[in-house]
């Protein structure tokens, strides 16, 4: 269980985090969404015991990040957004060094390292120098490194940044596997569709403030309240327009004559939407398709942060 209470971080007059409150359950994969400078990395740095908050506190499994940082380090695996590797060190030596840094006995490390390399598909790179690996491989190796002490909580700051599509897919598959292992994962990313696919919960941050937190579906549904519907007709575009204008739940009608398409904002329920379609067909409006515009996490993010910017 991760509890964040009144977390505030100020750099002079700049407020990076403003009384941030959050609670994340065990085994949950929680995606952090926010623009650059929104405060995601600041939260992650505080949770990773790299930064002290100006006010407030956070606890991971009951231990405070400010009072018991040494205990926190035992239960978290941290992957920063930017990281370097040591020259002249091979992949297995890299993991061995961090394993030793977590106090894992040498005998256990010998067993763990091949397993971790296999998990991140780097078995064949075991004896390669780390600085010669590709970016995607380094990212995966860093992920393996963050897992070496079998942490309960993973804090991954932009783990897929700068990766090509193939490397992103590979990273996503590994994270899905970790999710199935029951790890609590905190992950930030700019690639929102990926987050919505693998996260149980989403946290939207803007300017250091919590804008929204909840299940991916509930946040999306929150936004779907005013859904946008596109109706395509074979002909009789004007008649169709006249028909839809009469509906009390419809507003913001737009016509695209070349596409024979009408789009509008609909405030009715799903049942009322069925009724609308039935009435249109009974009124001989030649509707051949009706689509509700799906709003993905990107739309959610844009819509939610819009208010904050204004």
């Amino acid at each position: 269980m991760i509890e964040i209470k009144g977390l505030t971080k100020k750099y002079g007059s700049f407020v990076a985090l403003d009384h941030f409150e959050l609670s994340i359950g065990d085994g949950v994969v929680c995606g952090f969404v926010g623009a650059n400078g929104a405060g995601k990395s600041t939260i992650f740095s505080i949770l990773a015991t790299l930064l002290s908050p100006t006010a407030g506190d956070a606890t991971i499994h009951g231990k405070s990040v400010t009072r018991d940082p040494a205990e926190i380090r035992k239960v978290i695996g941290y992957m920063p957004d930017f990281f370097g590797v040591y020259d002249q060190l091979k992949a297995d030596e890299y993991l061995d060094f961090y394993g030793a840094s977590y106090g894992i006995p040498a005998e256990k490390r010998k067993v763990l390292i091949p397993e971790l390399l296999e998990l991140v598909n780097l078995t064949d790179k075991r004896y390669e120098y780390v600085d010669l690996l590709s970016r995607g491989m380094k990212q995966r190796l860093c992920l393996a490194r963050s897992l070496i002490h079998d942490p309960k909580v993973l804090i991954l700051d932009e783990p897929a940044s700068g990766l090509d599509p193939r490397a992103r897919v590979e990273m996503r598959d590994i994270l899905k596997h970790l999710k199935s292992m029951g790890k609590t994962i905190l992950i930030s990313s700019h690639i929102l569709p990926e987050l919505s696919e693998m996260c149980d919960e989403i946290v939207v941050i803007d300017r250091g403030k919590l804008i929204a937190h909840g299940h991916v579906e509930s946040i999306q549904a929150q936004l779907q309240g005013d859904k946008r519907i596109k109706v395509k007709v074979v002909d009789q575009l004007d008649a169709a327009r006249a028909f839809f204008e009469e509906d009390p739940f419809i507003s913001g009608i737009e016509l695209q004559e070349d596409k024979k398409e009408i789009s509008f904002t609909y405030k009715g329920s799903d049942e009322e939407q069925v009724e609308l379609l039935r009435k249109a067909l009974l009124s001989n409006i030649p509707v051949y398709s009706l689509n509700v515009e799906e709003k993905d996490l990107e739309d959610v993010f844009m819509a939610i942060t819009k208010g904050a910017y204004e």
Partner: protein
């Protein structure tokens, strides 16, 4: 037990240092420099004939000069090895990851210091065969050699600690390097300058208290202090004990200057390491 005393940073640093080509090239140039000097010295004293005599007293001069040269080389190399210990990790973006491991700040700092010192000890040991040439001709006691090496060790640890401290409190390696070389110049040259200035000022009539008529004018304790903490001065008093007596006469302080040196450099080491350990996790209140 082994687990408790193992230091992963030390082991990793040793591995990386001894894998790097620059370590071996550095060692090679260091030995070449010493060899050129010893060879040149022998050639000059035997008048380039190879059949000339080399007296024990000359052997002692060679020992003295090699010791001073080695001291200068070690003092010059130490900041280069330690001043980037932490700042280079910061620049390479590996420090944050290291700080999230369960290693304590003390373990990390001590590991960094010991790995640098280990390399410097290797340099000193690698230079021993050249020292053995001195023993070939006699004139130097093993005690003197051991004393000199212990003195090197103390100086290296102290300057290394200064380097580690600057490396921890500054963000850039170049700044840390300049600050460490500055501190080294202060200890090696500025203290000598202060000693001579103090010594001269003390000789100005009416400037300082005087002894009864006929005796030498004693210098102030501060002047003695500048001489006592100067590595060159200590080296000379180890090699030529009569110079130590001369310093005692000049300053009227018969306290052995090596004790002052030992206390001062031990204090520097402890203070610098303490600051480095406290500042390593500067962004955390509980910086352990």
């Amino acid at each position: 037990m082994h687990q408790r005393f193992s230091n992963p940073v030390l082991m990793k640093e040793l591995k990386l240092r001894f894998r790097a080509f620059k370590s071996f090239s550095g060692l090679m140039f260091y030995l070449i420099l010493l060899f050129i000097f010893v060879g040149g010295f022998l050639s000059v004293y035997t008048q380039f004939t190879g059949t000339g005599f080399f007296r024990p007293s000359e052997s002692f001069i060679m020992f003295s000069v090699i010791s001073v040269l080695q001291m200068a080389l070690v003092m010059f190399i130490t900041p280069g090895l330690t001043a980037g210990a932490i700042s280079s990790e910061r620049e390479k973006q590996t420090l944050n990851i290291l700080l999230t491991t369960t290693q304590s700040s003390t373990q990390i700092i001590i590991g960094k210091l010991l790995s640098s010192i280990a390399f410097l000890i290797l340099l000193l040991i690698a230079g021993l065969p050249l020292y053995s040439i001195v023993f070939l001709f006699g004139g130097v006691s093993p005690t003197q050699l051991i004393t000199i090496f212990l003195f090197y060790l103390l100086t290296v640890i102290a300057i290394g600690s200064i380097g580690i401290m600057f490396s921890t409190i500054t963000k850039k390696t170049i700044v840390s390097m300049i600050a460490t070389y500055g501190a080294m110049i202060f200890l090696g040259a500025v203290t000598a300058f202060f000693f001579f200035v103090g010594f001269s000022l003390d000789r100005i009539p009416g400037g300082m208290p005087t002894t009864p008529i006929g005796g030498p004018t004693p210098s102030s304790p501060i002047t003695f202090f500048w001489a006592a903490i100067n590595p060159g001065a200590l080296m000379l008093t180890i090699l030529f004990p009569e110079m130590g007596n001369e310093l005692a006469n000049l300053t009227n302080i018969s306290f052995p200057n090596w004790i002052v040196y030992l206390i001062f450099y031990s204090l520097i080491t402890v203070i610098c390491l303490f600051i480095a350990i406290r500042k390593l996790r500067a962004n955390m209140r509980h910086n352990r």
